[in-house]
Subunit: 234 residues, 2 copies
């Protein structure tokens, strides 16, 4: 299941064209979070994506729009900033080829034309993905970015292999994340480090494509670590 | 040398956005044949592609726009019609990977929003390329089509992007693996579990595409964990 989530979209032309592109590449669901653009006006630019746009879910919060999805993917043209844990993006190529094909349901978030996604919005995602474009001007128009991302995913979706193991469920990954947070609280000295460690682990779990089997062993490993550290405390 | 040729483009928004996309993907030249769209108006939508649009060559004929180019490529969403020699298109994938990298100078033609390229215009090209999209609605907006084609060609031209973070080195990953082994030895009860934990971590580090920044924090996290556990032992 592929869902596109537009957060705070501003331009009706962009919104209409994106709806059309969603149909061109067979997107299952479109969610629109707090749009500034008029959907009524956007319908004029949707061509045969009109019905799809009319079926889009408009929500008041990002949380509603990503509920129940296995993998939440933020996008940004600012994919990299050396000292910033939030700006450690995966290249669209690696994402489309490696991470996306292994996931049952994916929501891809695109931010405002003017300012993109906020840091808080990005931190709600499992992975940050970027389109590696011209270093001197990598900022694409949002509808172009959607088109390129959808095209890359489209190419991957037609291949269904059966000789690959099932991936860990979202619930399993959540439990693993909780375990790492417990450990971080035991070993880290500041709140900031605990927070950043949480982002790190969210990214690791988002990117590592753990199979069910691997996740089970990692859980055991983390539980052992936690037990040893907490016995130290008592 | 990569040249984009827009034939009879109708919409100023499309024209502006296409100019921007050309800069995003480092196109060398833009030719505009008999435009219907106002270039003046299009400048409003070009963002930092403005100067590139101002430098575009406007011509009265397609011949002028493809003169001196090694390979002329027409594009159409009608890539295939069984009995029609003109509609025997190459898949964009095959083109970008096989044909494009072997050619010194390429002009890619995009037709009108309403009616595309005429049969006569297509017949002037060496190759017809199509984007294989949703069979029930493969017709992309022209600016989306340009974006996807440019993205595919961009990947072949291997210009190094700077908005993606550098990945951790192999040596860094090896050090991280060693750290996990040390911890496993402290917390695991059997040799077999230590061995399997090592395999697990090797896989995690192999798949997670850790950036340098992420690896540095993970190292710190593991070091903290190790210190807490070994103080427990002494």
């Amino acid at each position: 299941m592929l869902r596109i989530v537009l957060v705070g979209i501003e331009g009706p032309v962009n919104l209409g064209v994106i709806a059309r592109t969603c149909v061109n590449f067979n997107v299952d669901e479109l969610y629109i979070v707090k749009p500034i653009a008029s959907i009524e006006e956007a319908l004029n630019y949707a061509a045969r994506g009109r019905d799809f746009l009319l079926k889009a879910r408009v929500t008041d919060s990002l949380e509603e729009a990503i509920k129940g999805v296995d993998l939440v993917v933020a996008t940004s043209d600012e994919g990299y900033s050396a000292g910033d844990m939030l700006r450690q993006a995966v290249d669209l190529n690696g994402f489309a080829e490696k991470i996306f094909p292994r996931t049952r349901s994916v929501a891809i978030l695109f931010g405002r034309e003017s300012t993109g996604l906020t840091r808080e919005e990005i931190s709600k995602a499992d992975v940050l993905v970027t389109i590696p474009a011209n270093p001197s001007y990598p900022a694409l128009n949002i509808s172009q970015a959607v088109a390129i991302v959808l095209w890359e995913l489209w190419k991957q979706r037609s291949i269904t292999a059966t000789n690959i193991p099932p991936l860990a469920s979202k619930e399993t990954l959540r439990q693993l994340l909780d375990l790492t947070v417990e450990i971080s609280k035991l070993v880290m000295t500041t709140e900031d480090k605990i927070t950043r460690s949480r982002i790190l682990w969210r990214r690791i779990l988002g990117k590592a494509l753990l199979t069910e089997k691997e996740a089970a062993l990692l859980r055991y490993w983390l539980q052992r670590v936690r037990r040893h550290i907490s016995s130290d405390k008592t």
